[in-house]
């Protein structure tokens, strides 16, 4: 996959970028350098000193302070800590803190940890990356989908949908039959037209439990991405399954359908729930 070979560069760039961030220390991410620091209520020099002290307790305390403040300006010293490396417990808290602060620029510091040998750290890094919505996150999540850790693949599959990474659709289709059920949800969110048709054709071929998380998202997609015809076809297939879980999905879709949603889809759902064919709504 093309994404594979780029990753070392991404990681290298990420770390370089993170180290650069160390130099600019408390520079806030989403704002002009200096502006956030100026506004911040955090005592950034003191926090930075604590994080660089090598004292585990002091560093943990500093991380607590930054996390509880929710202040984006606190992200930079935490990113610098990740770039230097630290004990596993500090790293875990630092990664979590960056997830809380949700600064897109934290992606550079988090990306290398998505490949850490400690499963908990790399899973936490993936979750934090999703939270930051970093521009790097898509590629890192795609890479994680190729990895050997099932939990990591599940997080990545879910995150790719959340971050709207359309480029990952082929990979999500690859892992879906391999029991990465989270890929279904993302495919339901990301697919367009033929892709959605391909997805719905898997219903009945793959286990329902694998597919079900993608069905409601797909039914709620706008007509431009997923034509009503395909949605009605899917509703009819679910109706014909005549199972309680399938019925439950129809109910959920109807309940979540926006007020300005497609009247045909709404009618189809209503008819299906009453046991009538949706053919007549076409």
């Amino acid at each position: 996959m093309p994404v594979r070979n780029h990753l070392p560069l991404i990681i290298g760039a990420a770390l370089a970028s993170a180290l650069f961030a160390t130099a600019v220390a408390a520079a806030p991410k989403a704002e002009k350098p200096g502006a956030a620091a100026a506004k911040s209520k955090l005592d950034l020099p003191s926090l930075q000193k604590a994080l660089e002290s090598g004292d585990e307790a002091r560093a943990q305390s500093a991380l607590e302070t930054i996390a509880s403040s929710g202040d984006p300006a606190g992200a930079a010293p935490v990113e610098a800590l990740l770039a230097r490396g630290a004990s596993a417990s500090l790293l875990a808290r630092a990664i979590e803190t960056l997830g809380i602060l949700a600064q897109p620029t934290s992606g550079a510091a988090l990306a290398p940890y998505a490949q850490h040998r400690t499963p908990e750290l790399r899973r936490a890094a993936l979750r934090a990356l999703i939270a930051t919505q970093s521009p790097l996150a898509g590629d890192v999540l795609r890479r994680a989908l190729h990895g050997s850790d099932p939990a990591q693949r599940a997080i990545a599959a879910r995150g790719l949908g959340q971050l709207n990474v359309r480029a990952a659709v082929p990979e999500l289709f690859s892992v879906l039959p391999k029991d990465v059920a989270e890929a279904a949800q993302s495919l339901g969110q990301l697919c367009v037209r033929e892709e959605c048709e391909k997805f719905t054709e898997l219903l009945g071929r793959l286990r329902f439990e694998v597919m079900e998380s993608g069905i409601v998202p797909l039914l709620l997609r706008p007509q431009a991405d997923v034509p009503d015809e395909l949605k009605l076809k899917l509703i009819e297939r679910l109706r014909r399954m005549a199972t309680q879980p399938a019925n439950q999905l129809l109910q959920t879709a109807l309940a979540k359908l926006p007020a300005d949603g497609s009247p045909r889809v709404k009618l189809g759902l209503e008819r299906a729930l009453k046991g009538y064919s949706v053919e007549e709504t076409k």
């Binding site: 996959m1 990681i11 004990s87 290398p112 850490h116 400690t118 190729h146 050997s148 892992v175």
Partner: protein, 601 residues
């Protein structure tokens, strides 16, 4: 010297109802050793007459019938009704037994020529001289051997029941040669019923065989029936034996002529040797100077001098029968296919018997098979065979891997790498292949190609490459072009930690400034989280590389880490040693180095 037989010998010799007995009767207990005179006189008498060679044919057996085909490309035939022991090609006939009947088929057409009752016995051995067919039949319980001579009309011209086991017989010019008591071969004139000569051998003799018109006696080794036969009693006859070699399943060549070869799915039929002795101007040897060894789906072609491997052929099904031709070989397998091979192991055609088989017999001793396509290089043959073997063939796999290491061919490196990546390969063998990769010094391009690969769940690449052994080999080869690939593997958590350690050690020696970022990432991630010795070693090795090629920033990075209380204590110790020139050498010696790694799987 009079030789007394310890076992009682009960003989009933029938010839049209007449009994032949007394002096000259077969298998006499009172026979006096004659220093080979009688057998030598017989040999001189028969020398001008050549026994007919066997028709080139393959005959398979299953529950429903016999399936034959003339070779190399003759017509196919079938015969309804099965066989209880493996049929035997005897001259122009195929002799078999089933349900108390001994029968002969025309080898070319499958037409039944005759059938005679043999009570509850089964075929043990048979031969034909163009006029008479001789056979030894026996029951499951020993001591019920019967010798039969049958003419073309199906008349039994001679029948001898014996309480002593009779071996596999041969016949030439109306004289039958019958091994018995594992020591003697009695030559019986089929017309008179008299024993006209006797051969006493000093090695086990249970087989009298006709190989392409020449008679040979013995079992493990064979003595030729020629002008030196008189000296055979004193081990000075023309003798030929296959070279000794440990082979998978301990296959036998002819085996004991005193045993039956029942048609069954037994492994015994699938683990065999095949060779055809021949006398030439330069002495006796085996045709093609080679012999075949089968082990289920693999057939090895081996030198008749030193048993070195000439070729390997992997089959689609278990080998059931093999034959060495004047030139080339034939192998009949359980799928019903007969594979014809040139003397070099190249393709020489094939035949299809048209049915799945339980047993098979094939005889191409009189053929000269021409090569249609030369064989692939031996390394590729071995690689192909290894890729097709199933995990339960570990013994054969080991032998083939051992053979691979004897070859000075860069492709061996690729084959070994492929072995480590195959889920079909048992763990022991995979470990052996990994160990061997570390010792390779050729095939750099295959090593680099392997390092391009990573674990990839999406693409079903579920085994990472053998990173550690590749790193060892490439470091020993000073292969700097490998460094970007090795560096990339450092940060791939799918790699085994011990492999990462070896890659780090290789990078400690080879890394260039181009790998600085990858190494720095690794260093940052693990300097404080290294929780096992191999990871500690890896971090220290990478620290060493950063100091060596990272310039001032690299050195500063390592110095800071050595000072940081958060750095893992063992890592810290290693880094401190790195930064202290006078202690660097002893510290480094504590870590596994490339040479030591060569011993690791």
């Amino acid at each position: 010297m009079t030789r007394l037989l310890s076992a009682s010998l009960l003989l009933t010799v029938a010839c049209g109802g007449n009994l032949a007995q007394g002096v000259g009767a077969p298998f006499s207990e009172t026979w006096q050793a004659d220093q080979g005179k009688s057998i030598a006189a017989l040999e001189a008498r028969l020398r001008a007459t050549k026994a007919p060679g066997a028709t080139a044919v393959a005959v398979g057996v299953n529950d429903s019938g016999l399936f034959g085909a003339s070779l190399p490309a003759g017509p196919r035939w079938t015969h309804s009704g099965t066989a209880d022991t493996v049929p035997i090609v005897a001259g122009e006939l195929v002799v078999a037994s089933n349900a108390g009947q001994l029968f002969a088929l025309d080898a070319k057409s499958g037409k039944q020529l005759w059938s005679v009752a043999i009570d509850d016995r089964m075929l043990r051995g048979a031969s034909d001289d163009g006029t008479y067919t001789v056979a030894v039949v026996a029951a499951d319980n020993q001591r019920k051997s019967r010798f039969l001579a049958v003419d073309r009309s199906g008349s039994v011209v001679r029948e001898i029941d014996s309480t002593i086991d009779l071996g596999f017989p041969a016949v030439k010019a109306g004289v039958a040669f019958i091994p018995w008591s594992s020591q003697y071969v009695s030559a019986v004139d089929l017309k008179s019923g008299e024993e006209v000569a006797r051969l006493l051998l000093r090695e086990i003799v249970t087989q009298a065989r006709n190989f392409n018109g020449e008679l040979w006696f013995g079992e493990k080794g064979l003595v030729r029936f020629d002008d030196k036969i008189r000296l055979a009693t004193t081990n000075q006859g023309t003798h030929l034996v296959l070279p000794a070699r440990q082979l998978p399943g301990k296959p036998v060549w002819l085996g004991s002529g005193n045993q039956l070869w029942p048609v069954s799915s037994s492994a015994r039929l699938k683990i065999r040797l095949a060779a055809t002795p021949v006398a030439a101007t330069d002495g006796v040897h085996f045709t093609d100077h080679a012999y075949l060894a089968s082990y289920f789906r693999v057939v090895l072609g081996l030198s008749d001098q030193d048993a070195t491997l000439h070729f390997v052929k992997s089959l689609g099904a278990d080998a059931l029968a093999m034959s060495s031709a004047e030139r080339g070989f034939a192998v009949c397998d359980a799928s019903g296919k007969v594979t014809l091979l040139s003397a070099q192991g190249g393709d020489a055609g094939s035949a299809d018997l048209g049915a799945r088989l339980t047993a098979c017999t094939v005889d191409v001793t009189a053929l000269r098979l021409e090569q249609a396509q030369p064989p692939a290089p031996l390394a590729e043959q071995i690689g192909q065979a290894l890729s097709e073997l199933t995990p339960d063939m570990a013994v054969a796999q080991k032998l083939l891997v051992d053979e691979l290491t004897k070859l000075d061919d860069p492709r061996v490196t690729k084959i070994l790498i492929d072995l480590t990546s195959s889920a079909k390969i048992p763990p022991d063998l995979r470990a052996a292949a990994r160990k061997l990769i570390a010792t390779r010094r050729t095939g750099k391009e295959y090593m680099l190609a392997a390092l391009e690969r990573h674990y990839d769940y999406v693409s079903d690449v579920l085994l990472p490459p053998p990173l550690g052994p590749l790193a060892d080999a490439l470091a020993a080869m000073n292969e700097v072009s490998a460094t970007p690939l090795l560096a990339r593997h450092l940060n791939d958590p799918a790699n085994d930690m011990a492999d990462v350690e070896r890659a780090a050690i290789a990078l400690g020696k080879l890394a260039t400034p181009a790998e600085y970022e990858e190494l720095r990432t690794f260093f940052a991630l693990y300097r404080a989280t290294a929780d096992e010795p191999s990871l500690v070693n890896a971090v220290v090795a990478v620290g060493g590389a950063l100091v060596r090629m990272g310039g001032a920033p690299g050195k500063a990075l390592v110095e800071r880490a050595a000072q940081d209380p958060l750095t893992q204590s063992e890592v810290k110790r290693g880094l401190t040693a790195l930064l202290t020139p006078e202690t660097a050498a002893p510290s480094a010696a504590k870590s596994p180095n490339v040479a030591q790694n060569a011993q690791r799987p």
